[in-house]
């Protein structure tokens, strides 16, 4: 595997910052907006965006986690069962603007499941999508993100990994390419 850092920690911070200001442009003071991270890796993005937004706006931002395991379309097409993570949405999303947040937008299937899962909690007035990384050429479904940290052009054989300071020790995004495929 060939490793290539496509976002280092400095650019990582700048990207989060830019995403926050883009959110503020559309959502003003966030009084009608909630952020929902998709389990498992989207919650890291939410935590970071929430922290930064709260610094900028000086108020608390409503956030939740959504697990989409039971809404996936590949149930029983895998060797092992899909084990769920926790969902934590302790607020009403009815008539709120929801920003769904994930780390990597790839096939779009997770987001499709996320939209379905969201319906179980009510009818939001609007749903937007924020993705830290957009692998734009690999979509299986007609889904696009409203806010994108960085767009990358990748092959299906490649893998994009978002690493976090609190988990892996450093903020960065790495692109893995199999040998002889670059």
């Amino acid at each position: 595997m060939e490793r290539q850092v496509i976002l280092n920690s400095k650019h990582f911070e700048l990207t989060i910052n830019r995403l926050c200001y883009q959110l503020i442009e559309n959502h003003n003071d966030f009084s009608e907006t909630v952020l929902i991270g998709l389990q498992p890796r989207g919650i890291n993005v939410v935590t970071r965006v929430k922290e930064r937004l709260e610094e900028i706006l000086g108020k608390e931002i409503v956030c939740g986690n959504l697990d989409i395991t039971f809404y996936r379309d590949d149930f029983r097409r895998r060797e092992t069962p899909l084990i769920p993570s926790a969902t934590n949405i302790d607020f009403v999303i009815e008539n709120k603007k929801v920003v769904l947040i994930d780390d990597v937008l790839y096939t779009g299937r997770t987001i499709r499941a996320g939209l379905d899962a969201l319906l179980a909690f009510g009818r939001p007035s609007k749903v937007e999508l924020l993705a830290l990384i957009d692998r734009r050429f690999n979509r299986d479904l007609p889904i696009r993100a409203d806010y994108v940290g960085k767009t990358v052009d990748t092959l299906v054989s490649e893998r994009v990994s978002v690493e976090w300071e609190e988990i892996e020790g450093e903020d960065k995004v790495v692109l893995f390419t199999p040998e002889g495929n670059g």
Binding site: T69, Y71, T80, P81, A120, F121
Partner: protein, 310 residues
């Protein structure tokens, strides 16, 4: 990622500790689902489940049916009272006829011990045992242990006494297996005639004095006296049984510590426990029922995920 070591849920005896923990972890997620405004997930859209009840049941059948529906599976119900079993059809024939209608999973309660295992070896469907005679009732034991885990944080190291008709109880046997696999200490308590002869071989303590048993335990699981399974008299009268083994508020308040009271239902109020105990804060009987749905969803989900489609 983990997966269950079994293809059918026949008894707790066949499960490993990892299996039980996987079921509990998945049940946690389902417990959150059933407390949502829309209590339903689409995971099992293409699965059909048959509930075959050859013996009466209210709670277990409703609980299974609700669990299946909340997973979006299609459900057919069958009860022996209104079926061709009365006309002399055999178990295998009944089940094979139902399976020809393309059923993926069978939840069965049957009065004969071993019926679920018998079926699992002969038909091509996942079998979930919902109670087979006096043998096992695995989902009840799972929800009991899950409720203990929820209330006390864990099952390991806890002391649980099972009081009552151990001899006729599939709940007792499944509970003993389940609690021991999770590292709890188990005691059974009841009149000598209702304690099976070789029960000590399962590694459980035996006590005939209710107060002593209650002083020992953290959790008391009060079983119902199964008069329908008792072909001979095992004790002089229900009144005498309830005087010696019935749990009253006075006994509960007189203990040196606060214990948790469980009951698998249906309760005979005034026999094994009095009304004020059943309705007290220490009783988690209704939580057990709620957890029953989450645990059954978990079991069905995990077994269904082993069904492969082309």
């Amino acid at each position: 990622m983990d997966s269950l070591s079994v293809d059918h849920l026949i008894g707790i005896e066949d499960l490993t500790k990892n299996d039980i923990e996987l079921i509990f972890k998945t049940a946690d997620a389902f417990k959150e689902v059933i407390n949502r405004p829309i209590k339903k997930v689409p995971s099992l859209r293409d699965i059909t489940i048959a509930n075959l009840f050859f013996e009466n049941s209210t709670r277990t059948r409703l609980s299974f049916e609700l669990a299946e529906k909340r997973l979006s599976s299609d459900v057919i119900n069958f009860s022996a009272a209104s079926s061709s079993v009365k006309k002399g059809e055999t178990l295998i024939d009944t089940v094979n006829n139902i399976l020809s209608m393309k059923v993926d999973m069978v939840v069965m309660r049957h009065p004969n011990p071993g019926a679920a295992k018998f079926l699992s070896e002969r038909v091509d469907a996942r079998i979930v045992n919902a109670g087979d005679g006096t043998h096992e009732h695995p989902t009840q034991a799972l929800l009991d242990a899950y409720s203990i885990r929820e209330r006390l944080g864990s099952v390991e190291g806890k002391k649980v006494v099972i009081v009552g008709d151990i001899l006729h109880s599939r709940v007792a046997l499944s509970n003993i297996y389940c609690l021991q696999k999770l590292g709890a200490e188990v005691m059974v308590c009841g009149p000598t005639t209702l304690i099976p002869k070789f029960i000590h071989e399962l590694g459980v303590k035996v006590e005939h004095n209710l107060i002593k048993a209650l002083e020992w335990c953290d959790v008391a699981n009060m079983l119902r006296i199964q008069l329908e399974r008792q072909d001979i008299k095992y004790f002089p009268s229900l009144r005498e049984y309830s005087m010696q083994y019935g749990l009253t508020k006075e006994i509960l308040d007189g203990l040196s510590k606060e214990i948790i009271v469980m009951h698998p239902g249906p309760i005979n109020r005034g026999v094994e426990i009095t009304s004020d105990v059943a309705d007290s804060k220490q009783a988690i009987i209704l939580q057990q029922v709620e957890n029953g749905v989450a645990v059954r969803m978990s079991v069905i989900y995990l077994l269904a995920s082993k069904i492969k489609r082309q």
